[in-house]
């Protein structure tokens, strides 16, 4: 409990910092003033108001990705699972490029659905391929299936992009996960998706806890394994596709956060999920702030920062004791 | 028990040299990180005997065997193979004197038995050297003594567990060494196959005089087939000696932490353990039966 409170306080502080810091740093009192007094039309106030959607998107994306990662790690019993590792992001990217190139779609609202379909199909393909064979979905097989599907989709994506310079220019901004394009108008249609995903996540938690002991034991304990896995999968896809359609592919948040949560609160997925939902936005906002400070006045997109933080973390896990028996 | 007929050794390998073949270990210690897996174990094997290394899980018996075969480098102590420090011998030369079959090896996909066994001839080849008459004979001999000749063209994936293990033993035999080390040659095998494999090893030892040292789980099988047994506990040698010296209630209690009675195996006249269990205790059973009534 204490930890959750501390986490929430950190999150509030980070949100304020996120609003205050950027190419123009705004003192905190001016930030408060900008929101308490709607008539304040100074440049600082305008900048602060602009950064609010960005911050809120950061929080939403952080919660969604961390919860999606927790679900994926739980349902696959795979400590290396993450929406980007298991091919969801490349599925969304591929679907979006196809829709841009062949169906002339170009508004972010349309991308939401396209991204959802793309990542759902990719996630299904990775799971089906990775769980084939007598020993089921081992860590290595699932990770490899994700990597191969990603390699295939991204090379198809670039094959489609190559002769279409116009699409490339739109796509390359989308391809790197970033919060800078955040607008409330775009977030609203995605909200139901995220809320739906979170609700399903909460509903599956008891099942995921049972799954941690292995399929057979879980079934013996009366848990409906296939059903749990199906629902968890739908929840993870909703959460990560929703985020991806708004902020582009942001990797490794879903990988890192559940592990940190597990270190802090133990192995009960009820606690892990709660802790992840707090730690996720903390990590994402921190990464976004780092990205803004690092190369001022321009930004490093948050997806880059999380990849650079996340990949070494993945490697540490892969070298660690828990994966001796990959 | 009737021994299967074994074809005579056409090249007469083994026999004369093996009398002088020897493998000894002096104060071997192996550490993994900070954990000392093997701590100062001695061994002296010579004169065409079968040896068995027994012990509980994690006692370092496999590690010790790997150190004997120079698969791990010991932090302390030396392994002497036929009078030379094994660490200083070229690894290919070691491979012509000592063969090792690790625990449950995996064959590459689609490889035929003949192809697999012929890889045992690797230590006799340099780049560009031809497949010689001697190679051919050694492989055929290995296939024959392991009764695998009829399966030479089969793919290894199509074999049964016992046949597969015999194919791997054939690979080690094609290596034509006087000393063969095996790590749990009977794991994952059905009971009948376990006996089949061990009988084969015993025949090889009896006919070609090959020194055999194996790590083995089953205490009774160890007692039945081995000339000497090394019982290990926590990385050290607990007891070394003939089966009747090692297989005693005291040693088994120390090494495996269980109470046993020893009887004589009616088939081989070797010691045989009978484990105590609460279930087997007469009074307990009586009490239970009374309660039922």
């Amino acid at each position: 409990m204490l930890f959750l409170c501390l986490g929430c306080v950190t999150l509030v502080i980070l949100s304020l910092v996120s609003v205050a810091i950027g190419s123009r740093t705004i003192p905190l009192n001016e930030v408060f003033h900008a929101f308490s007094d709607p008539a304040d039309s100074s440049v600082s106030a305008a900048a602060a108001r602009l950064r609010v959607p960005r911050t809120i998107l950061g929080i939403l994306a952080g919660v969604a990705l961390a919860v999606a990662g927790t679900l994926m790690q739980g349902m696959t019993r795979n400590p290396l699972a993450d929406p980007s590792i298991l091919g969801l992001n490349s599925g969304a990217a591929f679907a979006i490029v196809v829709s841009m190139a062949f169906f002339g779609l170009n508004t972010p609202k349309q991308f939401i659905w396209v991204a959802l379909i793309g990542s759902a199909i990719a996630a299904l393909a990775v799971w089906l391929l990775g769980s084939m064979g007598p020993s089921g979905a081992t860590i290595l097989k699932l990770t490899l299936a994700g990597a191969v599907v990603t390699a295939m989709l991204s090379s198809l994506t670039s094959a489609i992009l190559l002769p279409r310079i116009q699409v490339i220019s739109t796509y390359r901004f989308w391809q790197v996960g970033g919060l800078s394009g955040a607008r409330f108008a775009l977030m609203v249609p995605v909200l139901p998706m995220l809320i739906g995903g979170l609700t399903l996540a909460l509903l599956t938690i008891p099942g995921i806890n049972a799954l941690a002991m292995g399929d057979e034991l879980a079934e013996g304990l009366g848990s409906r394994v296939k059903f749990t896995r199906g629902v968890a999968w739908i929840a993870a896809v909703l959460l990560s596709a929703g985020t991806t359609s708004l902020a582009g592919p942001i990797g490794f948040v879903g990988l890192v956060v559940p592990h940190a949560a597990r270190l802090l609160v133990g192995s009960d997925y009820r606690h892990i999920l709660a802790a992840s939902a707090v730690l996720g936005p903390i990590l994402l906002l921190a990464a976004d702030i780092i990205g803004r400070v690092l190369t001022r006045p321009s930004d490093v997109e948050v997806g880059i920062v999380t990849a650079i933080i996340g990949a070494p973390f993945f490697i540490i896990l892969a070298r660690g004791r828990m994966l001796r028996q990959v | 028990m009737k021994l299967p007929e074994i074809p005579t050794d056409p090249l007469n390998h083994g026999q004369q040299q093996s009398q002088s073949a020897s493998l000894s270990a002096q104060k071997i210690s192996v550490a993994y990180g900070t954990h000392l897996a093997v701590n100062g174990v001695d061994l002296d094997a010579h004169g065409g005997q079968i040896g068995a290394i027994i012990g509980a899980n994690g006692c370092g018996k496999s590690t010790f065997l790997r150190a004997l075969a120079r698969l791990v480098k010991p932090q302390g102590g030396t392994v002497i193979l036929n009078g030379h420090d094994i660490a200083k011998l070229p690894t290919k030369r070691v491979a012509t004197q000592l063969g090792i079959l690790p625990q449950s090896p995996i064959a590459p996909d689609g490889i035929t038995v003949f192809d697999l066994v012929s890889r045992g001839r690797y230590p006799y080849h340099r780049f560009g050297s031809h497949w010689s008459r001697q190679d051919q004979d050694a492989v055929e001999h290995a296939l024959e003594v392991t009764h695998m000749s009829d399966f030479a063209d089969r793919s290894v994936d199509q074999l049964s567990g016992g046949q597969r293990q015999r194919a791997w033993i054939a690979l080690t035999l094609a290596q034509d060494t006087d000393i063969v080390l095996l790590d749990e040659p009977t794991t994952y095998l059905d009971v009948a196959y376990q006996l089949e494999v061990l009988d084969l090893l015993a025949d090889l030892n009896a006919i070609d005089g090959i020194i055999i040292i194996m790590v083995i789980h089953d205490i009774n099988l160890a007692a039945r087939y081995a000339d000497w047994i090394l019982a290990m506990k926590d990385g050290t040698c607990d007891t070394f000696g003939t089966p009747s010296e090692v297989i005693t209630p005291d040693v088994i209690r120390r090494v495996f932490g269980m109470d046993v009675r020893i009887i004589q195996d009616p088939e081989s006249k070797t010691p045989m353990i009978i484990a105590d269990s609460r279930h087997a205790l007469g009074p307990k059973r009586e009490i239970l039966e009374k309660e039922k009534l």
Partner: protein
């Protein structure tokens, strides 16, 4: 092979005969594709034209088209295909995993990201860019290998570490692309797709020399590779210097891969598919490195023929290999996942 083994080694002889047959047919197929790649185009040339050009008695127009455009292009395709195929197969055999090709375990990404950096940030092209890509591939391979080493070597760990490094490099690469201007983006995407359009004699010479060196180096090592596939312990027991052989194979494979990538870009999936196709053709337990090289050549040459002539527009060869290779890859993965002994 001499006659001593004519009695009972039916197995060995049959697989040897099959291997020879496969290699010869693949070689003929590669030659045919090479020939088609040279004679077809805006104007069709005959065999005598080609011979005339080689004997340098053809008119200057033909000499230019064949001698400076089509011949170097086809020869580069042949050499790079072989290099991709051999490098990919070496990795797959070494890591006991048909899915562990260099484009999955981060090495190709290393070369790519270095190339993008070269194009976008340094503004270099041609040979300089190639050198840069080679350094990128080599550095990544070293980093992956170093990070994998942890109480010994485990192939599975290398695959996982490589995937992570690849993901990180990809992110960095796309970040650089955002900041690039229009012109650089196009040349970068072209490079990333893999294209034979820039081939000239310099590349032919470089890649052919690499191919020759690679073949000479791989042939003696392929025996050790065959042994390593029995598992490290069995191989070591048979007298293979496991660490040394593995390091040598990795170094040669990475060099072959990086040099081919530096010449034509990462032509998608050739290094991935060549090895498994070769194994299915030869159908034996051998590593089939040289055969994989020939399969690679045929794949690149065939795809180039399709890319140039199958439709009205000309595509970079990488587009064809991705579109054809992608589905094949999924099928291949389907089979290797089901049959776990390979994983």
């Amino acid at each position: 092979m001499n006659q001593t083994n004519d009695e009972k080694s039916v197995a060995l002889r049959a697989s040897f005969k099959r291997a020879v047959m496969v290699i010869v047919s693949l070689f003929i197929l590669a030659l045919v594709l090479l020939y088609i790649d040279i004679i077809f185009g805006d104007s069709l040339y005959s065999f005598t034209d080609v011979m005339d050009v080689i004997a340098s008695r053809a008119p200057s127009g033909i000499t230019f088209v064949i001698g400076e455009l089509r011949l170097p292009r086809a020869l580069t395709a042949f050499a790079c295909g072989a290099l991709f195929g051999m490098a990919g197969a070496s990795f797959q055999r070494l890591l006991h995993n048909p899915l562990a090709s260099p484009d999955i375990i981060g090495i190709t990404e290393g070369a790519n990201t270095a190339a993008v950096f070269g194009i976008v940030v340094l503004g270099i092209s041609g040979l300089e860019l190639s050198a840069f890509a080679i350094v990128g591939g080599l550095t990544t391979a070293i980093v992956v290998a170093l990070l994998t080493f942890h109480h010994g070597f485990a192939p599975q760990r290398l695959v996982l570490v490589g995937i992570a490094i690849g993901a990180m490099l990809n992110a960095i690469g796309s970040w650089m692309l955002i900041r690039a201007d229009q012109w650089d983006i196009q040349s970068a995407s072209r490079w990333l797709t893999g294209s034979l359009a820039d081939s000239d004699w310099t590349y032919v010479i470089i890649t052919m020399i690499t191919l020759a060196i690679g073949l000479i180096a791989v042939m003696p090592l392929s025996r050790q590779l065959d042994m390593l596939r029995l598992g490290d312990d069995v191989a070591a027991g048979l007298g293979v210097k496991v660490g040394l052989s593995r390091a040598a194979i990795v170094i040669i494979a990475v060099l072959m891969l990086s040099i081919a990538t530096s010449a034509v870009g990462p032509i998608a999936f050739v290094s991935f598919l060549a090895g498994p196709i070769a194994v299915r053709l030869i159908h034996s337990g051998s590593s089939a490195i040289a055969t994989s090289g020939l399969v690679g050549s045929c794949l690149v040459l065939g795809s180039d023929v399709i890319a140039q002539h199958a439709t009205g527009t000309q595509f970079p060869v990488g587009v064809v290999t991705s579109v054809i290779g992608g589905p094949v890859l999924v099928v291949l993965m389907y089979f290797s996942m089901r049959k776990e002994s390979q994983l």
